[in-house]
């Protein structure tokens, strides 16, 4: 089989899987938020509300696609696609499991995988940023300015929390990192790093309690205030796919990827991977149901005065310990 065909087939399958999991992550979020607020959540479309994502998609597609008069038409129309494209392209290098012969299940296996993910991930902010700026109205502009500041401040701490893992694993390739966790998961030696990553990941994906970018209380809907119909839908998909991405990365870096815990190897590795990612997704929904939104200056203070020093300290300590124990 020629390489391009193999990659094409893998991409189509993966795209299908990611889009389906997005759809049901959204349904799950609405259900879980409902339950935590003593509501049943969506339950009218199909049995147990299972066809709700299809109904939502149909609704978004049929809605009018508005462009404000003051908007910059090209950037305004392009921005959702930037968000979506960067969100999806990360999946080209995320490995989901390994066959018995050690072959990893991924579209492409890049030896600097973690760096590439960081690079692509930080491009995602352009979608939000340009979308807000090109809308030509106040609230989206404020939202995108916030998003830029927030991304810069939290991306630093996030990258630093990766470095501890990289020092322990001694490699930047994702399957190398997972294989290095065969004995114990990096969440144990890198507990602080893991906490920092989980917090910054919430900020990176603009989820509550760090959803300052779309804070309804003061910014209407933030960067996507002017968007409607399918273009709004694309931003929406990008947000959930990003959530999935950060859950996958957390699983790969700190929770052993597809390694089975306690030698429960009769369940295949892919299943473990999915279970761990699902737990993270649940955690993010749980956070959203629990915590109120932070005030903007506190968010910044928390990022720069707490997370960044802590991440640096964690890095230094890890480096010293690894240097001495070899």
């Amino acid at each position: 089989m020629p390489l391009w065909l193999e990659v094409l087939i893998k991409s189509v399958i993966l795209l299908f899987v990611v889009v389906t999991s997005f759809a049901y992550a959204m349904l799950a979020e609405r259900k879980i938020l409902g339950w935590m607020q003593l509501r049943p959540g969506p339950n009218r479309v199909g049995p147990w509300g299972l066809l709700q994502p299809a109904a939502d998609a149909a609704k978004l597609m049929l809605k009018e696609d508005l462009t404000p008069e003051t908007a910059d038409p090209l950037l305004y129309k392009l921005a959702p696609f930037i968000s979506l494209l960067t969100a999806f392209s990360v999946y080209a290098i995320i490995p989901f499991g390994a066959s018995a012969s050690g072959q990893t299940w991924a579209i492409g296996n890049v030896n600097a995988g973690i760096l590439l993910i960081l690079a692509i991930g930080s491009l995602g902010v352009y979608g939000i940023c340009l979308g807000g700026w090109a809308s030509g109205s106040k609230y989206p502009l404020l939202g995108s300015v916030r998003s830029t500041a927030q991304m810069i401040s939290y991306e630093l701490a996030m990258s630093l929390s990766f470095v501890g893992v990289l020092i322990l694993a001694g490699t930047t390739s994702l399957d190398g990192i997972v294989n290095a966790q065969a004995r114990w998961w990096f969440v144990l030696p890198q507990f602080v790093g893991c906490i920092i990553y989980v917090i910054t990941a919430v900020a990176e994906t603009n989820r509550a309690p760090f959803d300052l970018v779309e804070a309804e209380t003061e910014l209407v809907a933030g960067f996507h205030t002017e968007y409607s119909g399918l273009r709004f839908g694309l931003f929406f998909i990008a947000e959930y796919v990003n959530m999935l991405t950060v859950s996958c990365i957390a699983t790969l870096l700190f929770f052993g990827g597809w390694n089975a815990p306690l030698h429960l190897t009769f369940i295949p590795g892919v299943a473990w991977f999915v279970i761990k990612v699902a737990c993270f997704m649940f955690f993010y929904m749980w956070l959203r149901a629990t915590l109120p939104r932070l005030r903007y200056d506190r968010l910044m203070a928390f990022g720069w005065k707490v997370l960044l020093p802590l991440a640096t300290l964690n890095l230094v300590v890890t480096a010293i310990v690894v240097a001495y124990t070899g």
């Binding site: 339950w35 935590m36 003593l38 049943p40 749980w286 629990t290 915590l291 506190r298 928390f302």
Partner: protein, 208 residues
Amino acid sequence: MASRKHLYNPGAILKGLSITFGFMFRKRPTIPYPSRKKQHSPRFHGLHELRRYADGKERCIGCELCSSVCPANAITVIGAENSPDDRRSPGERYAARYEIDELRCIFCGMCEEACPTDAIVLTPRFEMADYRRGSFIYDKDRLLVPPDAGVGMPPDDRPGGIPGDLGRVAEIKSTTDVDSGYSATWRGEILKTQHEGLAILKKPEAEK
């Protein structure tokens, strides 16, 4: 400073998380409405109906007491003399037109209390949603129970004051039919004329 203390207090955050997690397994008070309906109090005030006597005569004698007592000005009654060969009610007069604007009505039940013949009563029906404002003006055709619907019980005789629902009002007529929809301005004109102190002497067109 208080909230800053909470921000850096993981204990508070964990407590919050445990509360929301616990709520997931609580019993939810939601009633899945169209498939299951809430049991209302027997005294619930809903859509009106005009009742009849056992012999099929209308109870309403067109006295307009309900219309004068109504705090929302929702009722319009125009009475007319009974003619000997077509007696609509046992009294001298009957209601030639009788309309209630259910959008104005506050469902207080004063009309029911004022009525000397227990003609107008409030039923427990509450599902009146419709597509046109005009459809909320219920005329006599829709308020009057059909002759074979029985007599029900006058409000004071009901155990615990349970409103009698003869259960037929809503079936009488489709409410969204454009041709038979009622223009919302008709009542307004009447009220204006009454306001100007002009009695409406003209007998309204005969009921169908």
